[in-house]
């Protein structure tokens, strides 16, 4: 999979409550969830998404609640991938299950707000197109990429068409 886009950048410990505030948890329609994505940390997020489909962040992205709306709202807001120095574990699982590409990259700092980058998941590379620099990343385990490729756990299970994971 290759994804090319400009990036939106955030810092460390971006938690689930600022990605998708608790007051909206009663929403179960994903398009409606998207309307509140990142609302408590970046009121311009939905405008920025028009030109940038990749989030780049620091350590512990998605810490806090188990709410999968945090991953769902980003996907339905138009995000193609989240790159972070590290992810909180439940968010990471939820993102994979929602079919949102998540990439751990220790050198995420090297990517700057507004940079255009290209992710190549097969090569395990992120290329910063502005500078030409290439960042190596650890590829996801094969069975996780299969879930993401299917578009999420739901589609994956339906595709498998059998009563097991």
């Amino acid at each position: 999979m290759k994804i090319k886009s400009r990036v939106i950048k955030y810092g460390d410990d971006i938690n689930t409550d600022v990605i998708f505030p608790g007051r909206y948890l009663e929403i179960i329609d994903p398009n409606e969830m998207a309307e509140h994505a990142m609302e408590d940390i970046d009121t311009h997020f939905l405008e920025k998404v028009k030109n940038a489909k990749i989030i780049v962040a620091g350590k512990n992205f998605g810490c806090g609640s188990s709410r999968e709306q945090a991953a769902t709202c980003l996907k339905y807001a138009g995000m193609s991938a989240v790159i972070a120095k590290s992810f909180a574990r439940i968010f990471f699982r939820n993102a994979v299950n929602q079919g949102l590409l998540v990439i751990e990259c220790k050198n995420a700092d090297k990517i700057e707000e507004g940079n255009e980058i290209e992710i190549d998941t097969e090569e395990g590379e992120i290329k910063i197109l502005d500078s030409g620099e290439i960042l190596k990343v650890k590829p996801l385990p094969h069975f996780l990429t299969k879930i993401i490729d299917a578009g999420g756990l739901m589609e994956f299970i339906k595709m498998r068409g059998e009563n097991e994971i």
């Binding site: 608790g22 007051r23 179960i28 806090g64 188990s66």
Partner: protein
């Protein structure tokens, strides 16, 4: 073997070690109000319900319903439960999911429990392997009875010393989180040893519950003789009451460095600190005193069983006489969804578990996390206060 390896070996039917990815059989699958989202996902999968007897649904996040949308979600859940013969359903008159899971015996030692709530780690107090998952994954568990898990590496955390007066389990775990930081135990199982192993069930629940705030996948007390990735040792003999300052749980300070800050709201309760032991500590400090007029003191017993016990012990009268507001058991206030929302520039001290920006209301409000004793002392003084002056 570590306890994590022992339990996941049993649940996957093969001998496993840290780092292995296993497909394990789930013993209990817990959801709360977000069961409405799980149901939506489950119906999209279109497979039959494989484990109706293992499903537990407890309404607690927005109870009673605060909006039409929430009311509709609750209705979807009640209808699904009835249609599918799910016996372990607890409507709004029972309490907070983690407390109810333990009170009703759904969580037990050695079980593998998943829940659509991050504080599912609470059942580590009973030495269950318990962890939080999302709604889609829960739908898959409902359909298959299984989940894939990476067997976590384990941190051994030993706590020694004599607990000083007015210092509690909450202070210990805040102290540990302050050292390990918000991602310090990410993906790890935490085994707690030393004095915390001998603490009450209530104290262990507080510690296991808050382990999530340093990223832990699951928590245990005591345990095997396995290979630990890291060892930590804490001596708490000289520990001051601890307080987590805005806006991260690992921003932990001694009470001496924070006391004197004026507050608007004090909250006692939640899955972290709403048990009878917590209410007793608070009522003992409050007895014969008044909550400062400028403070709204909200008390949320963690379950109706605890509420009833507090009634019988006369604690509720003490709360009400002092000017506190006793609420029904629930989570709403802790996550800013319901009951007790903060306005712009307001400051709360709370016995709950997260102080993220905007969690309890306005994104320009502030949340300080502390023990029930510190919360109560602060409610009386109208500012963040050291509970030791009430001992």
């Amino acid at each position: 073997m570590t306890l994590a390896e022992e339990i996941l070996s049993e649940k996957s039917g093969m001998k496993v070690e840290a780092g292995d990815i296993v497909e394990a059989t789930v013993d209990k699958a817990m959801s709360h109000d977000n069961a409405a989202l799980v149901i939506k996902k489950f119906e999209e999968i279109g497979l039959p319900l494989k484990i109706p007897e293992k499903i537990v649904i407890i309404l607690d996040h927005r109870v009673p319903a605060n909006t039409i949308k929430t009311a509709e979600n609750h209705k979807i859940i009640r209808e699904f439960v009835k249609k599918n013969g799910i016996k372990n359903f607890y409507d709004i008159n029972h309490g907070i999911c983690h407390q109810v899971m333990i009170e009703k015996g759904h969580a037990q030692e050695g079980m593998l429990i998943v829940g659509t709530d991050s504080h599912t780690t609470s059942y580590g107090a009973l030495n269950a392997f318990s962890t939080g998952i999302g709604a889609t994954e829960m739908a898959s568990v409902w359909a298959t009875g299984k989940i894939w898990l990476k067997v976590p590496k384990t941190y051994r955390i030993e706590v020694n010393g004599n607990l000083p007066e007015m210092v509690f389990a909450k202070d210990i775990i805040l102290h540990i989180i302050g050292h390990l930081k918000s991602d310090g135990a990410n993906y790890k199982a935490c085994e707690f040893h030393g004095i915390v192993k001998k603490m009450s069930l209530a104290d262990k629940i507080t510690i296991a519950n808050m382990s999530m705030e340093m990223g832990a996948k699951t928590a245990f007390f005591g345990g095997g003789d396995g290979i630990y990735e890291k060892n930590f040792e804490f001596d708490i003999s000289e520990l001051s009451p601890q307080i987590a300052c805005p806006h991260t749980v690992d921003n932990v300070k001694n009470i001496e460095d924070v006391e004197g800050k004026e507050i608007n709201q004090a909250v006692l309760g939640s899955c972290t600190n709403g048990r009878i032991e917590d209410l007793r500590v608070s009522a003992k400090i409050l007895k014969g005193r008044k909550v400062k007029k400028s403070v709204r003191f909200l008390i949320f017993p963690a379950s109706m069983k605890i509420y009833r016990q507090a009634l019988e012990e006369g604690l509720i009268k003490i709360f009400v006489d002092s000017g506190g507001v006793v609420m029904n058991p629930g989570c709403g206030c802790c996550l800013g969804a319901h009951e007790g929302i903060l306005a712009e520039n307001e400051i709360a001290i709370t016995s709950t578990n997260r102080n993220f920006r905007g969690r309890m209301g306005s994104k320009n409000s502030e949340i300080y996390l502390a023990s029930p004793a510190t919360v109560t002392a602060s409610a009386i003084e109208g500012k963040i206060a050291d509970p030791r002056k009430f001992s």
